[in-house]
């Protein structure tokens, strides 16, 4: 930064290739290296001070940086106290044809039975995550937030929703009850393969 400083740096950069290079080759000991570091040989005190200042600054910034990372990590808890994603909803014979909304409040799902079988729709609008309403008179799901409409099987046909609502994994336990796993969903993204016929997406009854 200062003119004198720069000149000195230039000088040191030019000198090493001529004299000290062979010397260091002859004695590559670690003790010498440590001695060199701690000897304080640098004749220019300004450079020494600048180096120390940089060291302290790096220490302070490093400390603050690590603290910032800690602060960020703090926002991501390991254990969560959220509703269970795996639960029993009863026997297949409990559900008649059509849409059953009795688990909407408890588990945010609808159980649907059609000619193919029983499947469970996760009651989350695929647009921005509100819960659509089941409108029996219109035979459709209608989202109150932005007006997405879905048919009784949860397939979108109006509004901004980009894809049908996800379906939860279902299986019949050895006792014969239906177990729903909301952490494992089957999707049908626009223009991609439908996962709705995968094993576990529907119980054929």
């Amino acid at each position: 930064m200062r003119p004198g400083h720069k000149g000195h740096e230039m000088a040191t950069l030019e000198t090493p290739p001529s004299a000290p290079a062979p010397e260091s080759k002859a004695k590559p000991g670690i003790v010498d290296a440590i001695k060199k570091i701690f000897a304080g040989e640098d004749p220019n005190p300004e450079r020494v001070i600048a180096r120390r200042r940089r060291f302290v600054m790096a220490g302070v910034l490093g400390f603050l940086g690590v603290n910032f990372l800690m602060f960020l990590r703090f926002f991501f808890p390991r254990a969560l106290y959220e509703p269970k994603t795996k639960f029993l909803i009863g026997y297949p014979s409990d559900f008649g044809f059509g849409v059953d909304t009795k688990f909407q409040n408890a588990h945010r799902i609808w159980v649907v039975r059609n000619t193919e079988g029983i499947f469970v729709i996760s009651a989350i609008c695929t647009h921005l995550g509100c819960t659509p309403d089941w409108k029996p008179s219109e035979n459709k799901f209608k989202c109150p937030c932005h007006g997405s409409g879905y048919d009784p099987e949860g397939v979108n046909f109006e509004g901004p929703a980009p894809r049908p609502m996800d379906r939860a994994h279902v299986e019949v336990t050895p006792e014969g009850q239906i177990e729903v796993d909301l952490s494992h969903v089957y999707r049908w993204p626009k223009g991609e393969r439908s996962e709705f016929n995968d094993p576990g997406a529907i119980i054929h009854v």
């Binding site: 960020l72 808890p77 106290y81 959220e82 921005l128 995550g129 509100c130």
Partner: protein, 315 residues
Amino acid sequence: MAEGNGKNGSSGNGATGNGADAGGNGAKKSPVATIVEGAKAVQVQATEEIKALKQLDKTDVWKSVLRVKHDETPRSRALGVLSNVFLHLHPAKINRDAVAYNYTWGMGGMTFYVYITLVFTGTLLMFYYHPSKVVAFRDILYLEHDVPFGKLLRNMHRWGAHLMVIMVELHMFRVFLTGSYKKPREFNWVVGVLLLVLTLLLSFTGYLLPDDQLGFWAVTVGTNMARATPLLGHDGPFGHQLGMTPFNDVRFGLLGGSIVDSNALLRAYIWHCVAIPIIASAFMVVHFWRVRKDGGISGPAPVQLETEMKEPRKI
């Protein structure tokens, strides 16, 4: 308290002065004469003090704590502004045309006023509000229907919040129309944009706090948009490739969970009541300071009317 300090201060000064005199004369005069002289000096001092106390507003303490009438000189009037902690950010003199309401609309100042109102009413609401599920909404009902003046305060806070957003935007619009974002005010424009963002964040975090259907779904929608954040959201571009899931992305960090639940409510509360107001206040200080440093409110060159020239101000 002011009286006592004034008395102590002045008597302290007097005593040292007299002490020095007495010491100087003591070498020539007899000890008795010295004592008599000292006593006289004390009497004179006391008389002066009593006289001074009759004119309280002339004491140093009075003048340093309370406002005094300044002399009718430009310098004195300038000092009246500069020596007051609440006014020192203001320029001592301003261009009359720059502060005309039809030029500034007064929106910046009024925004600040509304912000102060919001801080005050918000702090009062905090005395009744618990940021946890079930209780939060009950507290809102309690404030609305039972707490004396609770309805008034809550509505002042709510409408003030709406008003602040409108005013910030009008202020920005005015600054744009008058070209006040131009050199040398570019930096302050950027600070202003940050303040706009902080205002909107305050509005958004405050939205969830009543924990009613409106706020809950608004925050559901708002935070679902964060899923689509590039790199940091699990539904956004490159989010999946960077290993983002609903349990470690930016939305999770905002909500403290994968769903809008008690953690989300608590986080919104803390951002709303502590963190963002502190950040916004700091930026406001910079904003106001910068207005001053950039030469005050922008405006046309100062104009002196002919009528003013004829009759110069009293000096």
